[in-house]
């Protein structure tokens, strides 16, 4: 007789006897097709089992489509290719949303049934639907077992132990080769920064010094192009450029390794600057955790010279400012304003992952309604993200796997961890624009040249990517541009000045 069934059913007896180490064997030979489960009911506080054992079947009210996704570029499939899925059956999103609703409604029978189905179908190594099912199921499971923060810590620790800072850098480089996801923001931001600096140089007869405060985690891949453009387009003498890049590596990443890699990156950039004939200095500052805690003044961006033009480059860094009471994100943007920069470039991923009022107290951020909203938005966003990864990378790519796992950690964070501690709470372009305005900034439209640069960038990649203007509200003329995948806007780039 198969011991597995006796162990699973007797585990309930195990819980009742509180700590008996041996599994008592169950009774007879099973002749019925269903597993012979014990009839005693589970104590509500039982250590493992979340539900009464059940013989589950497919719920008749769900009409799921398991057809394979259509080929890339939307093929000829009749089903909606628009919403980030592959154009085929989007059973994972359906099941996951149903499950989230059931969780919010505390319908435990339904939850059990749906999670069982998801568990059967999910795989982190399957197609996009199976991957989504796998990662979101992991999040839901962490939520149900109230083990979100712990699960996230375990996942992050495993990743840190087994991934070097350098291999993370290589993954980022490969990502840029195959997808415009990060280079889109770089090209737009560089365009705005360069134009702002050159304007400053033209308006003054004195030699200019430029300083870029770089708050991003893309290993300075953004800057070589800017250096080259600066060299090419400066009128007479090329102005001096300093870059201070703030690296927020994981708290557990060995500092020595981070420093070594950043030193190498800095040396390479200095050499490149010399080749380009750009007077250049570079500094990497390490900061673990929330950027809001970074002392911006201590960075001494003006090197003591008042004529230094400062640009702040925020790529996916604003969302790293943990939301939650005391208007932390507004405080951060205000502190940027206090630096009196010539230009601030903001690149963020487009998703509404905060609760209704992101500045509300902790409790307000974690209601069931908030959970459902964030779940649905997260599902939409990460479906598109994973879909774009699937179509950009080769089938057997370890780099893509690493990126997917990173998304998986973000998903666990969003689905099962409190908002007040989360660094994944993206906001929409409209919301960020409101913040920038209230901090005393107004938008700078990207010039036609920059738009052209972005368009030619996109032509280097697979079909499916497009650029569109961000029309955020009536008064928002020219507040940035979106990078869209299959018509869905996913990354926002914008420029601001006081």
């Amino acid at each position: 007789m198969d011991e597995d069934f006796s162990s699973s059913s007797s585990s309930r007896q195990h819980f009742h006897s509180h700590g008996a180490a041996v599994q008592p064997p169950t009774s007879s030979v099973a002749t019925a097709p269903t597993p012979p489960l014990s009839t005693s009911s589970t104590a509500a506080g039982a250590a493992h089992a979340l539900f009464e054992p059940a013989d589950l079947s497919f719920p008749p009210d769900l009409n799921l489509d398991f057809s394979s996704p259509a080929s890339s570029s939307g093929g000829g499939a009749a089903s909606s290719a628009a919403v980030g899925g592959g154009g085929g059956g989007r059973w994972a999103s359906q099941l996951l949303l149903e499950c989230a609703r059931a969780v919010a409604a505390r319908d435990s029978q339904r939850v059990q049934q749906l999670m069982w189905m998801l568990n059967e179908l999910a795989s982190p190594y399957g197609d996009v639907e199976q991957k989504l099912a796998s990662y979101f199921l992991q999040g839901l499971f962490a939520r149900l077992t109230a083990s979100g923060p712990r699960t996230l810590r375990t996942l992050a620790a495993a990743s840190d132990r087994n991934t070097s800072f350098d291999s993370t850098r290589r993954t980022a480089l490969r990502f840029q080769e195959l997808s415009p996801w990060s280079s889109f923001g770089h090209v737009a931001a560089n365009g705005a920064i360069l134009e702002s600096f050159l304007e400053a140089a033209a308006a003054s007869s004195e030699p200019q010094r430029f300083h870029i405060l770089d708050l991003s985690n893309t290993f300075c891949t953004q800057w070589p192009t800017l250096l080259e453009a600066l060299a090419t387009r400066s009128a007479d003498d090329t102005p001096h450029l300093s870059i201070t890049t703030v690296v927020s590596a994981a708290p557990s990443a060995p500092t020595a390794a981070v420093q070594r890699v950043m030193r190498e990156i800095g040396q390479r950039m200095e050499k490149f600057a010399r080749l380009m004939g750009v007077p250049f200095s570079f500094r990497a500052v390490h900061h673990a955790g929330d950027l809001a805690e970074l002392d911006l003044d201590a960075l001494d961006l003006r090197d003591g010279g008042a004529t230094t033009a400062v640009a702040v480059n925020c790529v996916n860094s604003l969302r790293g400012v943990v939301p939650g009471g005391a208007r932390r994100r507004d405080a951060f943007t205000s502190s940027l304003r206090r630096l009196d920069p010539r230009v601030v470039t903001v690149v963020e991923e487009e998703a509404d992952l905060v609760a209704s009022d992101p500045d509300a107290s902790e409790e307000g951020g974690d209601t069931e309604a908030a959970f459902l909203k964030v779940f649905g938005e997260g599902l939409r966003f990460f479906s598109a993200y994973m879909d774009s990864l699937e179509e950009s990378f080769p089938k057997t790519s370890n780099e893509r796997l690493a990126l997917e796992r990173g998304a998986g950690r973000a998903i666990v964070d969003l689905v099962s961890c409190p908002a007040s501690e989360s660094m994944e709470r993206r906001e929409t372009a409209a919301a960020w624009a409101r913040r920038m305005r209230s901090a005393g900034f107004s938008p700078v439209a990207f010039s036609e040249d920059v738009a052209d640069d972005v368009r030619s960038l996109l032509r280097r990649y697979r079909e499916g990517w497009s650029m569109r203007d961000a029309c955020l509200d009536d008064s928002a003329a020219g507040a940035g541009v979106f990078l869209a995948w299959k018509e869905q806007p996913l990354v926002w780039a914008s420029a601001w000045r006081p």
């Binding site: 597995d4 979340l50 398991f66 049934q113 499971f141 495993a158």
Partner: protein, 457 residues
């Protein structure tokens, strides 16, 4: 991977190696390696395996992929033990580490570990959910069938296992058919029917074609069955063979009696020879009732039964099953790794096979209840069961064995082994037997009566 460990282990025996390793300087330990060795209860050969695994991991001063493989092995075994002892919280702590070290796109130990790790993850979740049976659902069955079909074709190209099964069974059938004009093949799990075109070819090239040829195929989805039937009919027509196809949607264990299986077209008087064929796998439950199937076979008394079984035990407790499966699939992944080149296209093919077929099997084996995932009594070795049910082996020496050797000779990769044992043929990778092909006839079968009068040459 396991074979690698055992063959590369120092010549000293495992306990001594473990003791030596304990004294040796430990490699930079991660938090989850702290002193849990003492708490683990001793369990015969498993302890040896575990001792070797963690000792090897602890003593791993050398860098390199071997370390990673050994570390994965150690983690997988510890995780499986935790699951076996219902320590699910501990199991959950180990899973992320396994996932990070593993990869479906890496070396063969890393790939095996990816699927076993994922299977353990699914199992842990189903234990929390209290729901264990597989998801059976018609729209899914059709989509699954298509996926399996594609993967099987790739599998067929990457490894000789599928062709071996087909060739040996077809040769055995051909031998048994000597003198028969009317043939009825019952395929207990026909899927895409990849096996049968080969038989049709052989039958069509005999001097005397059969007067009637029927195939009854069982499967989960009528749509898929009918498509298979149409394809086979087209092929038979192109060879000028008379052919009929009978689909049966469902599992053999549910079929009421032999008559239902033989169908109204069977006419005993005209000596239609019935052959039952079954190629085993762990992708899903084929019979629903193993004992019912044996009963049915006994009452059916086909002229020949051809079976291809995986040499993988499914009885015993979870941990034993896990260790054996890990050993088995490590060998299989090694074999595939040896076969497929580094070229992107080939590794994508191999990935599809590993993910859709082997990964699915691993999931089922690790799931509660093992591959059948029901509480049913399982037949362990069909050979033994058939003997008890009144069948005796038909030797595969001679033509089937010769065909098998020729087949292996066609493959460029060294490492596959062919063994004739008792009356059966075993195909293995290096020293591990992977599948066994055997053939059976009723014990009281008369010697075939040569019907010379009605035959023409």
């Amino acid at each position: 991977m396991l074979q690698g460990v055992l063959s590369r282990a120092p010549a000293t025996d495992a306990p001594a190696a473990a003791a030596a390793a304990m004294k040796a300087k430990r490699a930079p330990a991660s938090p989850d390696e702290e002193g849990d060795g003492e708490e683990r209860p001793a369990r015969g050969k498993r302890q040896q395996l575990l001792g070797l695994g963690s000792a090897a991991a602890a003593a791993a001063a050398a860098e390199g992929p071997e370390t990673r493989g050994l570390r994965l092995l150690s983690l997988l075994l510890r995780c499986a033990e935790a699951v076996a002892m219902d320590q699910l919280t501990e199991a959950r702590e180990l899973l992320p580490e396994i996932a990070e070290l593993a990869s479906p796109f890496g070396s063969s130990p890393e790939r095996v570990a990816a699927y076993f790790g994922d299977a353990l993850c699914a199992r842990v979740l189903s234990s929390y959910l209290g729901a264990y049976s597989p998801l059976a659902l018609r729209p899914l069955a059709a989509a699954q069938s298509r996926r399996f079909a594609g993967a099987f074709q790739a599998y067929n190209a990457l490894s000789p296992l599928v062709k071996f099964s087909h060739f040996t069974a077809n040769q055995a059938i051909l031998q048994a058919l000597d003198g028969e004009d009317r043939l009825h093949v019952i395929d207990l799990d026909i899927m895409q029917g990849l096996q049968w075109p080969g038989l049709f070819h052989i039958l069509a090239s005999r001097p005397r074609k059969p007067r009637s040829l029927r195939i009854t195929g069982l499967g989960a989805s009528l749509d898929v069955l009918e498509a298979t039937g149409r394809r086979l009919a087209d092929f038979a027509a192109s060879l000028g063979l008379p052919f009929e196809f009978h689909p049966i949607e469902g599992k053999i264990g549910h079929v009421a009696d032999a008559a239902a299986l033989l169908g109204p077209r069977h006419r005993q008087q005209q000596d239609e020879a019935t052959v039952v064929h079954w190629m085993h796998h762990c992708l899903y439950d084929v019979t629903r009732s193993d004992l019912g199937t044996v009963r049915l076979l006994r009452s059916l008394r086909p002229k020949l039964i051809t079976i291809v079984e995986q040499d993988l035990g499914h009885s015993g407790d979870f941990l034993g099953r896990f260790v054996e499966a890990l050993h088995y699939y490590s060998a299989l992944f090694d074999a595939l790794g040896a076969g497929a080149g580094a070229a992107a296209e080939e590794s994508a093919e191999r990935h599809a096979v590993e993910r859709q077929l082997l990964g699915a099997e691993i999931r089922n084996i690790v799931a509660v209840g093992g591959p059948k995932r029901t509480g049913e009594v399982r037949v362990e070795r069909w050979g033994d069961e058939l003997r008890r049910a009144g069948f005796r082996p038909v030797s595969l020496a001679g033509s089937p064995a010769t065909q098998a050797r020729l087949l292996l000779g066609m493959y460029p990769w060294k490492g596959y082994t062919l063994v004739e044992e008792d009356a059966s043929l075993k195909l293995g990778w290096k020293d591990l037997s992977l599948i066994t092909a055997s053939a059976w006839e009723p014990t009281d079968a008369a010697a075939p009566t040569p019907r010379r009068g009605s035959q023409e040459t």
